[in-house]
């Protein structure tokens, strides 16, 4: 039987981007917190390297062997056989995916929180795509603004404000919602190429800006500034300039002496009593099973694992999985629709060094920044060009029909052109749909015998496809204005498994269609909170981390302020 441990106030499952920030307000308030993490501490000197094979081919900092053993399966529609997705984009480590992420740290737009009602107001009810389960969020941008601000300060975000309390500054993003103050650090410096792209965008009449990043542009709270060495993507920062929770909020929480970290702890079930309250969690560590009792459980795994652990945690009170008596766990899931439009220039653009967060971004064609009348879609995509190019990837470049794939003619081509290719990241406003969801795979199991998560990706989405194609055309226009001689637009397809995975435990006021309430607590199990992008009901046209961290802090603060009623 499981070994019973001493009860704690709060157990947090997963010390990644979300759990890693939530522990800080809890520990500061004096609550006794047990942080359970399947991975362990990574050592910047031993584990982080300027090495493409290590980071990008073997993915040793972006997907642990433990995650790989639980890799979800994926299928487009229920009529297909689901197959292993190949790579699980979940990192088991203290700091989780925030160790290796691009650290682009965006606030969503006010429009993102009210996409349904704003689209109906501006374009009529028929503008809402068929089959979407989109709802307005139960919180507004104004509700979340103070928490965005806290995370920008506590974690450390560099950037340039475009809207401080309504005062517009064209050096920042003029389309952003009003902020209470400037970023705590100036934006990362531009590279020659990103500055060149900014100029080209201005010639088109657009308003480009240097995007925000949880990367130190100068020394911040005793941590070093970025060295731009070119191995940030899927890698950890050896100088500590990337502000993962492992170097920021988690050490701050440990210093309070109220957070105890249990590393290499694989949580297997959340346990409930006959009244439907959670009583704690079981986990395995060094081949022994433990039961950690707690007054409150905060579930903070990666999106796929949040739904999976709930569905696995069946009990008398929750026969179909924890907090799933309304059948909503796994629903309103979606992966972010994104695209890379690449381009070849007739001269060396020199983007070898830098990092994906060192870039130039255009927001004219995202969200509701432009009039969609007659376009046949709502939303759009942000356009982002960036630096950091690795040698294997560069040598594997598209030859654009200008050279064969091997031999001396190929050598001559890559000698000239490997340093002339630019990559981009286009991110759409992606919506949830009825036919995109997560459940447990009926056949594939992990080494413990538990089913893995199964993704049903849902196939073609006309709204997202049109939005992405529209953005790709704008990206091509931008590249051509900057002097590109070749532009490649890949097919606009949705993801199977994704590093930007949302939903499955959506936040909303209606318990019939949402798993957690506006504070992030379960509609069914009152002392269970859920953290992460799994609570987000739409993506926005940008990276999710800052938003899920702001929500996580807000949930933790709500818990502190309502301790007696929530802890019972």
């Amino acid at each position: 039987m499981a070994i019973n441990l001493k009860p704690v106030d709060v157990v947090v499952i997963g010390l990644g981007a979300a759990g890693g920030v939530a522990v800080l307000p809890l520990a500061r308030a004096g609550l006794k917190v047990a942080g359970l993490e399947a991975g362990t501490w990574m050592d910047p000197h031993r584990d982080f390297h300027a090495d493409e094979v290590y980071n990008n081919v073997r993915r040793l900092v972006s997907s642990s062997p433990k995650a790989q053993r639980e890799c979800p399966t994926v299928r487009a529609t229920p009529s297909q056989q689901a197959r292993s997705a190949g790579v699980h984009p979940m990192m088991n480590a203290i700091g989780g995916t925030s160790i290796h992420y691009w650290a682009q740290s965006w606030r969503l737009k006010p429009w993102d929180f009210r996409t349904r009602s704003e689209s109906i107001r501006r374009y009529g009810p028929n503008s809402i795509p068929a089959g979407t389960t989109l709802e307005d969020w139960p919180v507004t941008y104004d509700d979340l603004e103070p928490y965005y601000d806290i995370i920008e300060q506590e974690v450390g975000v560099s950037g340039k404000a475009g809207n401080i309390q309504g005062r517009i500054d064209p050096a920042g993003n003029v389309f952003e919602g009003p902020r209470q103050r400037e970023y705590p650090m100036p934006p990362l410096r531009g590279a020659g190429f990103t500055d060149h792209m900014m100029d080209a965008a201005r010639q088109l009449g657009w308003k480009p800006f240097r995007p925000p990043a949880a990367i130190n542009s100068q020394a911040y709270r005793g941590r070093a500034s970025c060295v731009f060495h070119g191995y940030c993507s899927a890698g950890g920062c050896h100088v500590g300039a990337k502000n993962s929770t492992a170097t920021t909020t988690i050490p701050d929480a440990v210093r309070t002496k109220n957070l105890t970290i249990f590393d290499k702890a694989q949580v297997t079930r959340i346990v409930t009593d006959s009244n439907g309250r959670v009583t704690g969690v079981t986990y395995i560590r060094d081949r022994k099973e433990y039961f950690q009792p707690a007054k409150i459980v905060l579930l903070a795994g990666y999106t796929y694992e949040n739904s999976r652990l709930l569905l696995l945690s069946k009990s008398k009170a929750y026969p179909n999985g924890l907090s799933n008596n309304h059948g909503q766990v796994g629903h309103h899931y979606f992966g972010h629709w994104t695209s890379n439009v690449s381009a070849l220039f007739p001269y060396d653009i020199n983007v070898w060094y830098g990092l994906p967060a060192q870039g130039a971004t255009v927001d004219e064609w995202a969200d509701d920044s432009f009039d969609h009348a007659g376009l046949g879609f709502i939303g759009g995509a942000s356009l982002h060009v960036y630096t950091e190019r690795h040698p294997i990837d560069a040598a594997a470049m598209n030859t654009y029909g200008r050279a064969p794939l091997f031999g001396s003619a190929w050598k001559k081509f890559v000698h000239e052109n490997a340093g002339r290719v630019a990559s981009t990241y286009l991110q759409t406003n992606t919506l949830p749909y009825e036919t995109t969801f997560l459940d447990l795979d009926p056949e594939v199991r992990d080494p413990l015998g538990d089913p893995v998560c199964r993704i049903t990706s849902g196939g073609v989405r006309e709204n997202e496809q049109r939005a992405l194609q529209h953005a790709q055309d704008k990206m091509e226009q931008w590249f051509r204005a900057a002097g590109a001689i070749e532009v490649t637009k890949p097919p606009a397809n949705g993801p199977g498994i994704s590093t930007h995975a949302y939903g499955g435990t959506r936040m909303g006021d209606n318990p019939e269609t949402n798993v957690v309430d506006r504070w992030g607590f379960s509609h069914e199990a009152p002392n269970l909170g859920i953290l992460g992008a799994s609570v987000m009901g739409s993506s926005g046209a940008r990276n999710p981390t800052l938003t899920l961290q702001a929500l996580a802090w807000r949930t933790a603060e709500h818990l502190v302020q309502n301790w007696k009623s929530l802890a019972g």
């Binding site: 362990t40 390297h49 653009i349 560069a394 413990l448």
Partner: protein
Amino acid sequence: MNSKEERDSNVSRRELIQSAAFVPLAALTLSAQQPAAKGALTPGQMKTLVAFIDRLIPRDELGPGAVESGAQIYIDRVLAGPNANEKATFIQGLEAIDAYAKRVHGAALAELSAENRDQVLNEMIDSPFFSRARRLTLEGMFSDPYYGGNKNFAGWDLIRYPGPRPAVAAEDQALKADVKPYRVSAYGTKFGQ
């Protein structure tokens, strides 16, 4: 947790937790980075691989090719280690090329002239093996020399990659800049080649 069924499943679950199938997390940490004791290919298979990658990236006036850079050493090592799951498929591919070369051109790949080998490569250019072998050759030639290829940084010189500098100044990121190459492995000099 009271029914007989639940008790039985708890017993089998406990066995699973303690069994060899459930490798503890500590044992998995970074094991993928350990080099294999010996390579994956026989001398005959290595000969075919060398004949193949020698035409993929040949030595010419732009400098060393894949073979002189040691891409075959990288491939041999990864097929014995982190890529062991594709070893059998890869060897089947090498054998299939040799069989094809004998049937169509009358001799094993390694015995054919450069022109005939180029012909074989062109004839198989759409095959999955060609893509995979090409990809592994690029990994070998353009990866950190720690992994056995990119000898004397020949791959990085070919594509004019300036190398992983410890710190990069703004002028190293200027448009059209001719950045002086920095030729050091991320693992220093203390690794066996």
